[in-house]
């Protein structure tokens, strides 16, 4: 189980990386922490002509408080967030999510940007950042742009990131005092990707936000369920059923039961 040969490029800057990724659009692949990409290479499931190594770009490893939250560099590792090195304006949600990803030795290298860019529908960060209303900062050949998570996530393993672009950071808004959240995930075994993720955030100043992860497509905002937040169980179940019908049409009875249970648990915990 050894990778096919590929070339390796270590860019000196983000611009350098983008230029190389743009110039070899078919075969250049960015590598961040490598914790998902390297296995795919080893299994010869991800063809790569050139790896563009984002690992050494110090710009991506930065984090800082901002006026309304925190900016987390795309190259920040799960472990750094887990260990509380990154200011957490979410009242512990980021830290909790980071600590539940895979295993420590994977968290030591895996990055928040790499996770979002891969857009595995069962991954944690897309669901979490979507619920938090985070925005991605994206650099590319034509400069920098910002994209809300809702627009960034397109489908399973698909994002709006164009050839030559990389995510450089996420702006995560702070949650005001009094916010309640719940993050629930069902896994086949510890450390495995999620079968179902339910993330609920209830700010005192806004309507509840409900996100479902672990679908066959992408992390999804559940509008009906959010609207029904605070209602009785029958109303919530009906809302979840309507949401599932629109976000995962192919869900069979088990998947419906699974997601419903996860979401109900998250809603109940967030409701207190």
């Amino acid at each position: 189980m050894k990778s096919a040969p590929f070339d390796y490029f270590k860019p000196g800057s983000v611009a350098d990386a983008c230029a190389r990724l743009a110039s070899e659009s078919g075969g250049a692949v960015a590598i961040a922490g490598g914790q998902s990409l390297v296995p795919l290479l080893a299994l010869r499931m991800a063809p790569a002509v050139t790896l563009v190594d984002l690992g050494g770009l110090s710009a991506l490893g930065q984090f800082a408080k901002t006026s309304d939250g925190v900016r987390i560099g795309a190259g920040v590792t799960h472990a750094a967030i887990e260990d509380g090195k990154v200011p957490d304006p979410s009242g512990g949600l980021l830290q909790r999510v980071a600590g539940g990803i895979a295993y420590r030795s994977v968290r030591n290298h895996g990055t928040i940007g790499g996770s979002v860019a891969l857009a595995d529908p069962a991954a944690d960060w897309p669901a979490c950042l979507l619920a938090l209303g985070a925005t991605a900062r994206i650099s590319g050949p034509s400069g920098e742009r910002v994209e809300p998570m809702e627009a960034l996530l397109v489908g399973a393993y698909t994002t709006s990131i164009a050839a030559g672009e990389i995510i450089t950071a996420f702006d995560v808004p702070a949650l005001p005092t009094g916010t309640r959240w719940s993050y629930q995930k069902v896994v086949r075994k510890s450390g495995a990707f999620a079968m179902s993720i339910g993330c609920v955030i209830v700010r005192p100043d806004r309507a509840a936000v409900v996100v479902l992860g672990g679908t066959t497509t992408r992390a999804q905002l559940l509008v009906e369920t959010a609207t029904a937040f605070g209602g009785d169980e029958a109303r919530l179940r009906a809302a979840i059923a309507r949401d599932l019908a629109s976000v995962q049409q192919d869900a069979d009875d088990y998947v419906k039961r699974l997601h419903t249970a996860t979401l109900l648990k998250a809603v109940r915990e967030a409701a207190g």
Binding site: D7, V38, A42, L43, R104, S105, N108
Partner: protein, 157 residues
């Protein structure tokens, strides 16, 4: 293409021209001849290949050797005189925490990392932290006991 890799392996500077596809695990095992680092799955799940890179536990099968250029890498061989490792090994022996021994190097390196981040951790913490290290023989019970005992000893408890 080939790329030059220079790194400090167990305190010694080593360098080689490698293909970018060469993993750190293969670099250590095949090029440097250090075989304590085992390959159990080569896709990052079993944990047998765990080493330390810049002081952090790392799947050497998920790390390309070129990306470890300039870094400090430690394998079980290089931790022979490490005080915490010596305590762990003694407890692994006392508690019968190994059977076939294939997972043992990765377990020990992970255990040392657990004890560096948690003072005298309880069994629940150890089990959570060990969840990325597969053992097929022991059923984990004695590994957990050994780490728990080593943690208590190192904490002076």
């Amino acid at each position: 293409m080939k790329a030059k890799v220079s790194l400090v392996l167990n305190g010694e500077s080593v360098s080689a021209e490698v293909e970018p596809r060469e993993t750190l695990a293969d670099f250590i095992r095949e090029r440097q001849g250090l075989t304590a680092t085992h390959l159990g799955c080569e896709h990052g799940v079993c944990g047998a290949c765990t080493v330390e890179v810049e002081g952090q536990t790392t799947r050497s099968c998920l790390t390309l050797a070129v990306r470890a250029d300039g870094m400090h890498v430690k394998t079980l061989e290089g931790l022979a005189a490490d005080p915490a490792m010596m305590v762990l090994k003694r407890w692994f022996h006392d508690e019968h925490a190994l059977q076939c021994g294939f997972c043992t190097p990765g377990m020990l390196i992970t255990a040392r990392d657990i004890l560096s981040r948690h003072r005298a951790p309880d069994a629940g913490t150890i089990r959570k932290e060990l969840s990325g290290q597969l053992c097929r023989c022991t059923g984990y019970a004695n590994i957990v006991k050994a780490i728990e005992a080593a943690g208590r000893e190192l904490a002076g408890a």
